[in-house]
Amino acid sequence: NAGVTQTPKFRVLKTGQSMTLLCAQDMNHEYMYWYRQDPGMGLRLIHYSVGEGTTAKGEVPDGYNVSRLKKQNFLLGLESAAPSQTSVYFCASSSQRGGSGANVLTFGAGSRLTVL
């Protein structure tokens, strides 16, 4: 049971570089999310998806783009990285199905991104 897998786990970028974080889940969950975690600010929602081919903005979407071409994958892209995007990024997924497990977020292990 892999659950939610994020790659890469660590990355250092220079200002202006681009990169993509990949999230893959094997639980057939409908909903997928990208959060960023910064000290003292909890988890803030960047973008989310309620199904294959759909995406929506969260609280802090600026500077990020996402795509969900396949149900199991949710990609987070940074087109031109900025130091303010230095953070730990978490992917998560959930489903309405599952009885007592319904609507429980399953998280990936996180990806630490540093932008110099």
């Binding site: 959060y35 909890g42 988890l43 007592s100 292990a109």
Partner: protein, 115 residues
């Protein structure tokens, strides 16, 4: 818009003692879910407990229980018989049933269990 507030940035408790972490939220919705998640130093987020707002009975999971006060919009987590492995960051989260399925998190409470 919904908000979640955790007013205790840091707490400590002696091993085997009981500690309560507070969480309040603001919503006009009637049907929603509330969660407590634990983030140990490994960084992996783990579900501690889940509460459905339409259920009046407080959720429990072994040493973890909640005090859910819907009218007061309060959702505190009680940890009994604290163990060193409970040392972690704890996040309270809210999700409205139906609609966008967005989860809103509080800023977290860092709990340290002392030997």
């Amino acid at each position: 818009a919904q908000t979640v507030t955790q007013s205790q940035p840091e707490m400590s408790v002696q091993e085997a003692e009981t500690v309560t972490l507070s969480c309040t939220y603001d919503t006009s919705e009637n049907n929603y879910y509330l969660f407590w998640y634990k983030q140990p130093p490994s960084r992996q987020m783990i579900l501690v407990i889940r509460q459905e707002a339409y259920k009046q009975q407080n959720a429990t999971e072994n040493r973890f229980s909640v005090n859910f006060q819907k009218a007061a919009k309060s959702f505190s987590l009680k940890i009994s018989d604290s163990q060193l492995g409970d040392t972690a960051m704890y996040f309270c989260a809210f999700m409205k049933h139906g609609g966008t399925y967005k989860y809103i998190f509080g800023t977290g409470t860092r709990l340290k269990v002392l030997a």
